[in-house]
Amino acid sequence: MLDKSKGLSKAREIYQNRSHRVKELKAEGKKIIGYPCMYVPLEIITALGLVSYRTYGDIAEPVTEADKALPTAFCPIMRTCLDCALKAKDDFLDGMVAIHSCDPQDKTTRVWQSYISYPYFHLIDMPGTLRTQSLEYFKGQLNDFKKTLESFAGKELPSDKLKAAIELHNRQRALVRELYKLTKPDPPLISGTEMLQVIKALMSLPAAEGNELLTQVISEVKERKDGPEKKPARLLIWSSTLDNIDIMQLFEAGANVVMDESCGGIRAYRADVKLTDDPLDGLSDYYLKEITCARTFREAVFGEARKDYIADLDSRFGYLKDFIRGWNINGAILFLVRYCDPFAFEMPSLKDYLDHLGIPNTYIEYDYTQGSLAPLRTRVEAFLETID
């Protein structure tokens, strides 16, 4: 057990050198399975004694290799992910599992698969709606994924093992939520930047080690005296992917980021997987319904005959209400990655909803390049000036 005061600095180290630990594990003979999107059920990977590793791109790395297969007017996150893969930056992976969570994800995966041959590769299909038969279909897809991974691992996955893995990951979700409680005070005890480093570290570690890290961080943060200083605004960031601290620091120059609703923040940890007799029921239910990415088509009522706009907004964004109240948020930045259709179509409606809740908000777009950060500063500052 490491010294309790070292949690945050350890997270920082892992953030800076993400693949270090998995490479060690690989050297010990562990198999590493990459995944580019949070919709991949890690429980199945963990349960089979494999190590899951979230593949990311690199904002500092100019996209060159990916140009041969992806156009420039395309999700820049997927472009840089593929680019890094083509540059063999994660050549330590033994396998890759991707999911049709959005169109760019699906297309990129298929390109990925045809240029890099991993010993193991699986693509999970994912429905767009929450209807019963969609859920059934999704469960079937997860079961297929389980089967192929079993044969790769060369062993059956009994359901008690899977349940144990679900509990392990639920524990991680609970710990992250506990950590997020520590951003409730004003000023928060942990900054958005540190939080991002922790979350990204979690996605680079085996679940058990992640939980250990979280325990350290939580106790360290609770006792710390050197927390973030108080800033005029308490911000909610709503984005698809926010995985870089340079960006977070832009926000935190003039505000405290107390809630990050992106897949570099709380999104993957907001809820728990239900423990069902057939664990796949709980998993498919959680991954289809509980993760609040804009890619999912949510509606107030199935097959409703009329549409009540506010009810519709509630069904899509209601969960934000708890964040806003619970964390006493007084400003929201809708941070859009250019060419991200699911989130882009959401903008005006989410704006309507936040206005309806009386939360000052702004929509800022960026293209995931270092060059695009400088112009962001002016936009962020100008927004903060409108609320302070």
């Binding site: 100019p62 996209v63 060159t64 290799e65 140009d67 041969k68 270092q370 060059g371 400088a374």
Partner: protein
Amino acid sequence: MAWFIGIDIGSLYSKGVIIKDDELSAYYITLSGANYRTAAETIRQELLTKANLTQDYITDIVATGSGASSVYFASKKASDIVCTARGINSIFPSARTIIDVAGQSTKAMRIDRQGLVANFAVTEKCAAGGGRFIEVIANVLRIDLKDFGPLSLHSESPITFSTGCAVFGESEAITRVAEGIPKEDIAAGVNKALADKISSLARKIALEEPCAICGGGALNIGLIKSVENTLNIQLLIPPQPQITTALGAAITARTSSLKR
């Protein structure tokens, strides 16, 4: 014995060559200026004087480049991509890939043994994507184009431009100069920015060695080194890289007249 003229009217410079059968007998480069027709006439005159011939000796004239249609006295217009391919092929028969860094845009093409175009790609029309960017910055640094490359080679830490626009790049360079950032770092920064664009263009067409570079950009040793480093290859450079396309036009004139 027969003479052929090729004229390449570019956005910024116009070039012409006169060949006797398959050897270069004269070439001439001038600013395109406002009136392409005048440029074309000047070039023809200068070429004839240099080669000391009269028009009657000239079997055929082919025009190319963005202003090709202004060469009213040419018998044929030819695509600049095709001409560049022919030009390089005549100089470096072994070359399989060509990078042409022209004023307005950069082209990359692959060619076969006969110098026929096997594949090609062109950058979009933005000054930041062509040789023009270098001229703009050279102007800011108040250094001669021919010194731009050598100077940039001295840079320890090339700057990164915070903009993709040549015009803003210009202002940025000016301000950095005023703040005392060494000229070579700025020059190297420009070369790096352009080299990155060129490299991804070359990758698009699946670059195949040997690879030649031509066009005004090929006069810039810094750019060449930068491209060589990024792509990790050796580039072939013609003696007068700017006239490659005009030379190709002249060769096109010859081949088409041989066919007849």
